[in-house]
């Protein structure tokens, strides 16, 4: 059965949190509800589900790859043109360490950014109900429900004090 999304817009955080509770009473779970805001609210402000993220894994993977990238660039470059300068060995660690360090940091940062996008589910095609007034400070309560149940959810949100609702 197709999934429909219903969006209710609320003036303040308390109303939005109450609306979320009212939706849960219809048999839906917290996984079916999202709270859309134009800025970060303290975690749990709307009684929303706890989000588990694995972002910390990404910089480690990126850092390791970047470190080995740094080793490869420095060692292979030196071996490709083995010119002895200042009596130092061809594979001299102190100068290699600088590039390896930068490679490690670059890898860690690149992977962190990729991790943020991946974990945020971005890029994301906006097919669900959305209203531009969310960016004007209204709080959106987005509910995903099976087709046929959307009107019931719409009524629940309206009853909870939504200034407007949308179904998509």
């Amino acid at each position: 059965m197709a999934i429909k999304s219903v969006l209710g817009l609320f003036q303040d955080a308390n109303q939005a949190a109450d609306a979320g509770d009212a939706v849960k009473e219809t048999g839906l779970t917290e996984n079916d509800i999202d709270f859309l805001t134009d800025c970060p609210y303290p975690e749990g402000a709307f009684g929303e589900r706890e989000e588990h993220i694995k972002l910390f894994l990404f910089p480690f993977i990126g850092g390791i790859l970047g470190f080995f990238g740094g080793i490869m660039v420095t060692s292979m470059t030196q071996m490709a043109y083995p010119l002895i300068t200042g009596g130092k060995p061809i594979l001299s660690l102190p100068p290699m360490a600088v590039v390896m360090y930068e490679g490690t940091m670059l890898g860690a940062i690149l992977f962190t950014v990729l991790g943020v996008l991946f974990e945020s589910r971005l890029p994301h095609k906006m097919t669900e109900a959305y209203d531009e007034r969310v960016s004007q400070g209204l709080i959106g309560v987005l509910v995903r429900a099976e087709e046929g149940k959307e009107q019931e959810i719409n009524d629940v949100l309206s009853k909870a004090g939504a200034v407007d609702t949308k179904i998509a």
Binding site: C39, V73, I109, S120
Partner: protein
Amino acid sequence: MQEGRVLPPEQINKDLLNSIMSTPKWYWPAVGICSLIVLIAATIVGYMINKGLGITGLNRPVMWGFFITNFVFWIGISHAGVMLSAILRLAKAEWRRPASRAAEVLTIFSLMTAMTMPIIHTGRPWRSLYWFFPYDFARGIFPNIRSPLVWDPSAILTYLTSSVLFVFIALIPDFAILRDNTTGLRKKIYTALSMGWQGNARQWKLQIVAGILLSALILPVFVSVHSIVSWDFGMAVSVKAWHSTVFAPYFVVGAVHSGVSAVIFVLILLRQAYGWQDYIRREHVEALCRLLIVVSTGWFYYFCMEIIFGIYGREADEVAIRTLQFTLYPWNWIMIIFIVTTYFLPILLWSRKVWRRNLLIVSIACISVNIGMWLERYILFVPGQINKQLFTFTWANYTPTIFEGIIVLGTFALVTLLLLLFSKVMPLIPLYDIKEGDILKTEVQIGRRTVPATFRED
């Protein structure tokens, strides 16, 4: 902070997007003037490529002059972004909010500008590729990894890439606000840039965690960049007086000093130009000035150490260079102007609360710091090369030409132009950060006083 008033979100959108939604009368003339200066400088660069470095004052033994001075200066300015954004974010300083984006953007543009300087300085820019790119473009020759001139591009490119990504991640929610507030082609562009951002709890949580994580990752890069820039000099065996062991921290603290001063000046300009009095408040400027008192005093300590380390060993070359810097014209005058403008004048102007809250006085102090910091690099690099050394048989003083002066001026116009163009398409103050600050703000009653307070999550 104490003086802010809580504004409704629509008002914040209207105020902070006014640089994008409307065009003040001064905007296009300012863009025009900056573009003209950049164009003239670019033409001179073209002329220099055609005629050779002979049109500059560079000659043996002074091969690093205005261009390299300017390169280090702009690298220094770029340190403001991480200092303000990352350190203050990790320290959970509330007053960072309006300053963070402008600082990060200034970092990017000053880094980009800095990178042009050594490339122009080579005289034949296309040959720069041979020098740092790990590929044999000619005759099977690969770059020499043992040279600091190879470490430098690797550090700067890492810092630039990191800074761009740092800004981009923080811009996504603001792109969504722009998507919701624009129409036509602009809406399509912002829709693509916002990548379907909804603003749900998961996305916000990741935005906050990413801010902290990226700050923590960029900080070591920030320290490494100017340290490595200092090694360009510290590891040049042939030039005396460039081997001080305090060069790395001296350069890093100096960079923060000039960079944060530049950010304060940019913030004051933005406040006046776009009427952002409610966002960039006098208390923010004052807080930044107090920070700078500490930073500049730290910088002055390293400056003294650098001089003391130089003369304490009584090496003939070191003493000769210090004599040149402190007693011989024109270096002695440059030294005096540099010390006064970098430390004593700004410290005096930041010494009283009323002066720290006076935007004109603060602007003068910040410009003064940057004049001084530019001269600091100049007086650090050039006298070392002028000093007579063994096995060098060509002697000449260094007198910069008008061409070098215009190219340096062009870099200032370029950074200003890029900032102006950025302000036309993207918000220079992060909207969500300001709104979050307002949400977390409250007032508490303590005895008979009602005082502002801020809720803070761990």
